[in-house]
């Protein structure tokens, strides 16, 4: 090969796209190009080896609810203050969990759990109150949405009814599960986050339906 390969040729070789043999051969003999390729490869490897975030099942349920269920409902906007308040409380509670000061860790005998973090979490009444309030607000918001849904349900086909029923059941079960996880604030926040996704998507579906109905 005469002269250095172009940057794009080096990049393709480094990323394994379409490596021309002469580019690879050149990089084997040219320190400058070898270094460039090594950097390109290292950057890509560092970026790509980061963990893949979890995909919550609620996301698909919410999408399904929104794309298949246009319901003409006109009073959706009155939920907004309730939902906004619930979101704010949940965010504050989440923050309280995240920023609460580290507590002493108890190391027990071998028969017990080695580290008791639950007790530390349990001992934070402020966080618990905030999470209780968030759960209550989400429950209220869901109740309002369910009332609206009850009047619209008869107009829906059975398949859509089933989807919406499942979405409401899922949202409610997440809120219930968060109430049961009283001694685990991180888990409660996670469950409330899941219910928030569901509640917001149900509200969004209603708003989408409003657009359709206009």
């Amino acid at each position: 090969m005469i002269g250095h390969p172009t940057f794009e040729e080096l990049e393709a070789a480094a990323l394994g796209d379409k490596a021309r043999p002469e580019v690879v051969a050149h990089a084997g003999q040219c320190a400058e190009c070898a270094r460039e390729m090594a950097w390109l490869r290292a950057e890509a490897q560092l970026v790509r080896r980061r963990p893949q975030p979890a995909l919550r099942p609620e996301i698909w349920l919410a999408i399904e609810g929104r794309v298949h269920a246009p319901i003409p409902i006109s009073r959706a906007r009155r939920f907004r203050p309730v939902l906004a308040a619930a979101a704010a409380v949940a965010a504050a509670a989440a923050l309280a969990v995240v920023v609460r000061p580290p507590r002493p860790v108890t190391v027990r005998g071998q028969g017990d759990a080695a580290v008791s973090d639950d007790e530390a979490a349990q001992a934070d009444p402020k966080t618990r109150r905030a999470l209780d309030r968030a759960a209550g607000d989400y429950r209220s918001a869901l109740g309002v949405l369910e009332q609206e849904y009850a009047t619209a349900r008869t107009r829906l086909d059975s398949r859509t009814q089933k989807r919406w029923d499942e979405s409401f059941a899922r949202a409610r079960s997440l809120i219930d599960a968060s109430a049961q996880a009283r001694n685990d604030p991180e888990e409660r926040v996670k469950l409330l986050d899941g219910s928030a996704v569901m509640v917001r998507s149900l509200r969004q579906a209603i708003e989408d339906s409003e657009e359709v109905a206009r």
Binding site: E36, W39, R41, L46, R49, L55, V197
Partner: protein
């Protein structure tokens, strides 16, 4: 110093595979070709849209997590991306690739969210980029995961637009032409922005690696 990049690359023994080459989950039988899937989804077959979701949602969620840096917001933006994709499925041109098209929608959704946050910022929602701890050598840094934290800090410093373009290229493996379509930029601007992003990234990483190696 000229060999630093080579050592850097050789230390990370993972294949360079874009993040969006996600296997289709079990239960969906044979992998249908993308064009066939699209045609079926356009005809309103819910199962086809579900397969598209299963195939592309992990990379869309990952991309949105990188742009928004907030799990709940990224979940909701993933939902919104696929709802919009469902609505606009008919606008996808024959020669357009679905992966790039979806990331383009995701980028728009993330920009809307970032604008909302700028108008109504969340308290303490943005972490400051973490400064790296100095490790004794690049080998130790890479093995200890310090490089991952450094990379995370470096990505945070990029503007959201530049970060989006860079990640489309090196994390999701999109060709420059598709990035240009997704970003709404001309080809030259895509190349310039990715080049600048790489320089910024490299400056942070090389300072660390070479500093640690000395």
């Amino acid at each position: 110093m000229a060999e630093t990049g080579q050592r850097f690359a050789s230390l990370i023994d993972v294949p360079v595979t874009p993040a969006d080459r996600t296997p289709v989950p079990p239960g969906h039988g044979e992998v249908p070709p993308e064009r066939d899937l699209l045609d079926r989804a356009r005809r309103g077959e819910p199962e086809a849209f579900r397969v598209i979701f299963d195939r592309h949602a992990p990379s869309v969620r990952r991309f949105l997590g990188d742009l928004l840096r907030d799990d709940t917001a990224a979940d909701e933006a993933t939902q919104e991306t696929f709802v919009r994709a469902h609505t606009r499925m008919r606008t996808l041109r024959e020669d357009e690739r679905l992966g790039g098209w979806l990331l383009g929608i995701a980028r728009m959704v993330s920009m809307e969210q970032l604008r909302r946050w700028r108008r109504d910022p969340l308290p303490l929602s943005e972490e400051e980029p973490r400064e790296p701890d100095r490790a004794p050598s690049p080998e130790a840094a890479l093995l200890s995961g310090e490089a991952d934290r450094l990379l995370d800090g470096a990505l945070r410093l990029l503007s959201s637009e530049r970060r989006a373009a860079l990640l489309m290229r090196i994390d999701h493996g999109l060709p420059y032409e598709q990035i240009a379509e997704a970003m709404g930029w001309n080809l030259q601007k895509v190349k310039n922005e990715i080049h600048r992003a790489r320089l910024q990234l490299r400056e942070r990483l090389s300072g660390y690696v070479e500093g640690g190696a000395s």
